[in-house]
């Protein structure tokens, strides 16, 4: 603790008292604790938050961070080859639909990431050619000899790029439904539907996925308030729908 060179003796005394006070309060705060991490404690409880302890060297993110780079993925999956048009090996990119891999997006509240088997369904016939990502993929899959079936019991431990706090519930399928896939956009009209890219950024141009939105509540409410698709999908009921979308209980659980 910094003290100016000319600190008087009473400043020292006061600082000692202050330190002592902090320690006393700290101890008192712990008195009613039972060790929440003791494996035999029947009613574990603590006076501290649920946040997990800080571990040195671990990737950490903060709410409100935009442009979060999660650069420690277990293997370097390149979105632009698969979902975009980045050329590789003389062929153009695959330009696949997001939902080919992220099939949960339309069916479930959780979009998820594709199972290893989905990757291997194509990659079983692709020569790794020294690309580390592909050899790592094969290791994660452990294909049964002579088949394309994955035998591994270890899933690929992806780091989560788009993460919401635990007290928020997010239903992906409802957002994809706002996409209204069955509706044809008439010629010449602007597509008002919710595109994946609106929230996830131009993922088809990214290599390793990173987050381009800050995922804060205000950012979500911007669309819940004023996205064009609400009028499109709800017509006369749009005002009511906007009120529903801004209700706290819609997202907070």
């Amino acid at each position: 603790m910094y003290l100016p060179n000319r600190a008087s003796s009473s400043a020292k005394t006061l600082s000692k008292i202050a330190l002592f006070g902090v320690c006393v309060i700290g101890t008192l705060a712990c008195v009613d604790d039972v060790d929440p991490y003791s494996p035999s404690e029947p009613f574990p409880r603590s006076l501290h938050s649920l946040a997990p302890p800080v571990i040195e060297g671990e990737t950490r993110i903060a709410a409100g961070d935009s442009e979060v780079e999660i650069d420690v993925q277990p293997l370097e999956f390149n979105h632009s080859i698969h979902a975009g048009v980045q050329a590789i090996d003389g062929t153009t990119g695959l330009d696949m639909d997001c939902q080919y891999c992220h099939s949960g997006a339309r069916r479930s509240p959780a979009a998820g990431v594709p199972p290893t088997q989905v990757c291997w369904n194509c990659h079983n016939s692709i020569d790794p050619a020294g690309r580390e990502a592909l050899t790592t993929l094969e290791e994660y899959c452990e294909p049964l000899a002579g088949t394309t079936a994955c035998q591994s019991e270890t899933p690929i431990p992806w780091r989560r790029v788009h993460d919401l706090p635990d007290f928020v519930t997010f239903n992906h399928s409802m957002h994809v439904r706002a996409n209204n896939p069955g509706v044809e956009v008439p010629e010449g009209e602007v597509d008002q539907r919710v595109q994946c890219q609106e929230c996830h950024g131009e993922m088809q141009e990214q290599t390793v996925a990173h987050r381009e939105s800050n995922l804060l509540m205000g950012w979500c409410l911007d669309c819940h308030e004023s996205h064009e698709s609400i009028n499109e999908n709800y017509g006369t009921e749009a005002e009511l729908r906007r009120a529903e979308l801004k209700d706290c209980y819609t997202c907070h659980k």
């Binding site: 003796s9 409880r45 993110i61 079936a149 009511l240």
Partner: protein
């Protein structure tokens, strides 16, 4: 001392504060997201999967539906397709999730306390069997269906013998049925159409026989869909939990209930001019003498007999607490009475259930004897804790130690077992295959809803493995070949692969199924079902398709074989008033813990007992006069002792107790088990004299005498019941039955008025609104919950369902004593009456979701507000913990997290991912299960509907879904066609604390009383409440028969 300048002072203070803030880190670690490697076909991550199964918590085996998320069971509810539960589930069933995730359960087999592997322990056991096969004994709990058959085959093959025993079993009613009808089978009671219900002490709404099925029937009997409201009479010495709902209670000298039953039988037979064997049977009964012996006036019995003679009724026998040496006689007398009333075949169906097909204690005693004398090579103990349940004189430990090998099939070692006993954990029913044939008209199918958590094997798998290792053989069920074409399938097509795989049918000649060659227990069950359900059904479906259908629905209906119901008694019932020197000790099973087997589940220990309000311990009930005599109240303990032992337990002073008895709850006092069962309370079984009754050979629980004295310590128990008396306030209201039945649509106005504050006429005259604030706008929905207090049995299943669904922590007895019980719904109980009209009123209270909520306006940060669907929304991350809202709530519905409560390892696996877990410093409360509302809205809008239909809303919240009596109905109050709107318009409907004008979304329907309120002009609540609590003093003046204290008490 030198002066310090201001700058230095602030530097010092600032630095020390900063030191405290450094620990806060606003970042969190980046999370992982794990996909599957190979996804299961049917599972979409993020959406739940539901599996039908059968609960194993007690012997009833109700149908359940297990909700799983990503392969992990998170919630258990009733199965609407199963006739035992019809979509509801009791408290023990809800808590069976905690069996699966028990943090202390054995994770693999143990030999003498040392971890071992299945192969070695099975070979060790089979070697011991091969050595002396006829010395094998099986001492287990009641088993049904395939497991019962398998154990039977196994024991036959060894030449040993098996005993199935339940500590508080139903041997007396089975024996009574044998005496009366020649069939040793228990009856099934269908009470929905009864107009009069009489119980001689059976806890039919709590934990006796098939409580959930009885609750289903109770709800219908008290509703008016089937005609007039059923009236409930309880005739027993102590007012037990089920009998608390009685409209009238006649207290009898213990043991004389049989006299009353026979007297009623005679009176009804006379009124109905009964002829035949039944009439002859009761012809010699002197009703007046019997009534006098029991201490009830003949007039009252005549009144009751009139009612029994004039409509459908159902009469229940006695329970555990009042089961003396003549309990079989009581059961026989009630069967006779049922017969005379014409109930056999309408409300009482003898033989329609296999419950009660157990042995009595005398069989247990002979097993223990041969063990003690060295005649037992292997003693299997299946799902029982005999040292806990049996009186000390049974010497269980000593006997068990005499067996050469003791094999315990349980998830933790019960008490009193020898040190070298082998423990084979079966896991829980959520991880097991099995079936149930408890109902004669339905076969229930149990399938695993998740993979086994640990290295466990179900009892069926263990028996098969041992039989194989010991080279035992048995007669298989040979599949009939209906078309004699060599193909076991009835439809002619060869689905051989399917059939062979699923049922174990060997198509190369011998079609042997359901014997020890079955691959595993799943195949054994499938083989039995093939023979006993598939083939008799005559369906043209393939077995594979039929089996899958049965799995989805949780079972199949089967044709019940008729049971003889000709009354042909071989003996007459004996009256035997239990005379005990001193104080009679009555034991009763805990409403939630049963005979003690559920003490290892934190939820069931935590939820207060509905009658006493106590949790986490044992208490003794004494009467008001006795308490005065001993100079104790509920802050004291009493010491109960006799030659067998002594216990000191907390006191409950009860208006339902007799002066000459003390009642102690059975359930706690374990010395073994897990962290939630061991060390709480005291076990009263040790005080019981070991006596058996002459008819069944089972232990007589009532008949021991004790002395009671004031204990030295203070009462250690946590009491969460609050005030027993409403003090005249119209919280739980009653309406008079005549008014209700004559004015079903409220023609004469409300029948549940409370305190009426007259509206000032000047307000209306000035053209002003009575309310200060306009009612909030609810454009589409205004959700509400209607709770019918007349149907509520006080079982507490709603409390446990809420704990399960909403990630509510168990806080333990110390924190509960500091009023930190976290349950969002509580069951208040008021005992408004005296004597024959106990007028016990149960009222579940949760957040009322008020339109004019007192809590919303006082939140400084708007963490709680009124949402557009009528819910009072609580947003945890906004809450700063001022607790002003909890202070302002008149219903005390809000709970504050004084700590961050956590879950021990493996209990954390049962958390519902749809609901947050809360941190220290935030308020929480009932949300009407917003996660379920959100889900049903999403599902319905995805299907293209604008609003959710009422049928999907009626049982949506967890509490409404699990209520056995169907007393809770959820729905949209804005929809005039919804069931809740119709209930809210009922003349019995009222709002809690309506004088506060909070406009709650929860509507209560008053309880119905068959006793005319003292002030009939006040019509209902206030008059009733006020009258009942003060009426006793004036009863004699008014000459009120019902309120007066006549000889009985």
């Amino acid at each position: 001392m030198t002066k310090m300048n201001r700058r230095d002072f602030f530097k010092v203070v600032g630095a020390s504060s900063a030191a405290g803030l450094v620990a806060c880190d606003p970042t969190v670690p980046a999370e992982n997201i794990f996909p599957y490697v190979v996804p299961p076909d049917e599972l979409v991550p993020g959406t739940p999967m539901f599996y039908s199964s059968i609960c194993d918590s007690c012997s009833v085996s109700c149908g359940t539906v297990v909700r799983t998320r990503e392969g992990r069971a998170v919630n258990v509810q009733g199965n609407p397709d199963n006739p035992s539960s019809t979509g509801s589930l009791c408290a023990s069933g809800q808590a069976s999730l905690q069996d699966t995730y028990d943090p202390d359960r054995a994770q693999g087999p143990k030999d003498g306390g040392v971890d071992t592997d299945w192969a070695s322990v099975i070979s060790k056991i089979s070697a011991a069997i091969s050595n002396n096969p006829s010395g094998v004994r099986w001492l287990g709990r009641y088993r049904t269906g395939s497991l019962n058959k398998l154990i039977g085959q196994f024991m036959d093959a060894t030449g040993g013998s098996s005993v199935h025993w339940e500590p508080h079993g139903y041997t007396s009613i089975v024996e009574a049925s044998k005496i009366a009808f020649g069939n040793a089978v228990a009856p099934r009671y269908d009470i929905a159409t009864a107009k009069t219900i009489v119980s001689f002490g059976a806890q039919f709404l709590t934990n006796w026989l098939a409580p959930l099925h009885h609750s289903n029937g109770w709800g219908e009997a008290r509703g008016m869909e089937n005609g007039p409201i059923a009236e409930f009479y309880a005739i027993e010495s102590r007012l037990s939990h089920s009998s608390a709902r009685a409209d009238t209670w006649y207290s009898t000298t213990p043991g004389t209930e049989v006299d009353v039953a026979m007297a009623l039988a005679k009176l009804v037979a006379d009124k109905k001019h009964t002829t035949g064997a039944l009439a002859t049977y009761v012809s010699g009964v002197d009703a007046e003498a019997n009534a006098a012996a029991a201490g009830i006036s003949l007039d009252k019995l005549n009144n009751l007999a009139d009612k029994l003679a004039s409509g459908t009724s159902v009469i229940f026998p006695g329970g555990v607490a009042n089961g003396g040496g003549n309990r079989t006689d009581l059961a026989l007398a009630t069967l006779v009475l049922n017969g005379i009333c014409g109930n056999i075949g309408t409300t009482v169906h003898p033989g329609a259930t296999s419950l009660g097909q157990v042995d009595s204690y005398s069989s247990v005693a002979s097993v223990l004897d041969s063990a003690k004398n060295g005649g037992v090579s292997v003693l299997f103990i299946d799902g029982l804790d005999p040292a806990f349940n049996l009186p000390g004189a049974a010497n269980f430990s000593e006997s068990a130690a005499g067996a050469e090998m003791v094999v315990v099939l349980d998830n933790s070692m019960p008490e009193g077992m020898p040190d070298n006993a082998i423990l084979l954990p079966p896991g829980s029913w959520i991880e097991s295959w099995g079936d149930s044939t408890n109902r004669s008209d339905f076969m229930g199918l149990q399938q695993p809803a998740m993979r086994k958590l640990y290295d466990t094997n179900s009892v069926g798998d263990v028996v098969l493995a041992i039989a194989k290792a010991a080279n035992l053989t048995t007669t298989p069920l040979v599949a009939e070949d209906p078309e004699a074409d060599g193909d076991p399938n009835a439809n002619g097509t060869d689905e051989s692969g399917e059939v062979a795989v699923v049922s174990g049918v060997d198509l190369n000649g011998t079609k042997a199924i359901a014997d020890f060659t079955a691959t595993d227990y799943q195949h054994y069950v499938a083989g039995r079902w093939y023979d006993e359900a598939y083939l008799p059904s005559g369906t043209s479906e393939s077995f594979g398709d039929w089996w899958n259908n049965a799995l989805v629905r949780g079972g199949v209906a089967v044709a019940a074989s008729p049971v003889a119901t000709d009354f042909n008694p071989s003996t007459t019932p004996v009256s035997a008033g239990v005379t005990v020197d001193g104080t009679a000790l009555m034991l009763f099973p805990h409403s939630h813990l049963g005979d003690g087997r559920h003490a290892n589940k934190a939820w069931l220990q935590e939820v207060p007992d509905p009658m006493s309000g106590y949790s986490w311990g044992t208490w003794a009930e004494i009467s008001v006069a006795r308490a005065e005599e001993l100079d104790v109240d509920e802050s004291n303990t009493v010491t109960i002792s006799n030659a067998n032992g002594e216990i000191t337990v907390g006191v409950r002073v009860s208006k339902g107790m007799r002066d000459d008895a003390v009642a102690v709850v059975v359930g706690n006092g374990h010395t073994s088990g897990n962290r939630y069962s061991a060390g709480y309370g005291a076990n009263p079984a040790n005080l019981i004299d070991l006596n058996t009754d002459s008819r069944t050979g089972d232990i007589v629980w009532l008949g021991t005498s004790v002395t009671v004295s004031k204990g030295a310590d203070d009462n250690p128990l946590t009491n969460l019941k609050g005030n027993e008396d409403q003090d005249g306030r119209p919280v739980a209201r009653v309406s008079y039955s005549e008014d209700v039945m004559n004015n079903p649509h409220g023609e004469t106005g409300s029948l549940a008025t409370g305190i009426i504050i007259p509206k000032d006429p000047r307000i209306e005259a000035a053209g002003l609104e009575y309310d200060m604030y306009p009612e909030p706008e609810h454009p589409t929905y205004r959700f509400g919950l209607a709770i019918d207090l007349d149907k509520c049995t006080g079982c507490g299943a709603c409390e446990v369902a809420c704990l399960s669904e909403n990630n509510i922590p168990s806080v333990g007895p110390e924190q509960a004593r500091n009023n930190r019980y976290m349950g969002w719904i509580r069951l208040d109980r008021f005992w408004e009456g005296e004597g024959e009209n106990p007028d016990v009123r149960f009222i579940p209270v949760m957040c009322q979701h008020c339109s004019h909520a007192p809590c919303e306006g006082v939140c400084p940060v708007m963490a709680t507000y009124h949402n557009m669907d009528g819910l009072n929304a609580m947003i945890y991350n906004r809450c700063v913990g001022t607790r002003y809202c909890a202070n302002n709530c008149p219903y005390s519905a809000r709970r504050f997290n004084y700590h961050t409560f956590r879950w021990p390892e493996s209990y954390n696996l049962m958390l519902n991912p749809e609901v947050s877990t809360r941190e220290m410093g935030v308020i929480e409360k009932c949300t009407f299960c917003i996660q379920r509302i959100r889900d049903v809205k999403a599902t319905w809008s995805a299907a293209g509907h604008e609003v959710v239909a009422d049928s999907a809303l009626q049982r949506l919240p967890a509490c409404a879904e699990t209520c056995g009596a169907g007393g809770m109905v959820f729905g949209n109050l804005k929809d005039p066609e919804s069931r809740i709107s119709k209930l809210a318009a009922s003349p019995r409907a009222y709002q809690l604390f309506d004088i506060l004008n909070t406009k709650p979304g929860v509507r209560y329907l008053s309880k119905v009383t068959f006793h005319e309120p003292v002030d009939p002009h006040h019509g209902g609540g206030h008059g009733g409440g006020h009258g009942d609590s003060h009426g006793e003093e004036h009863a004699d003046d008014h000459g009120g028969d019902d309120h007066g204290s006549t000889g009985a008490h």
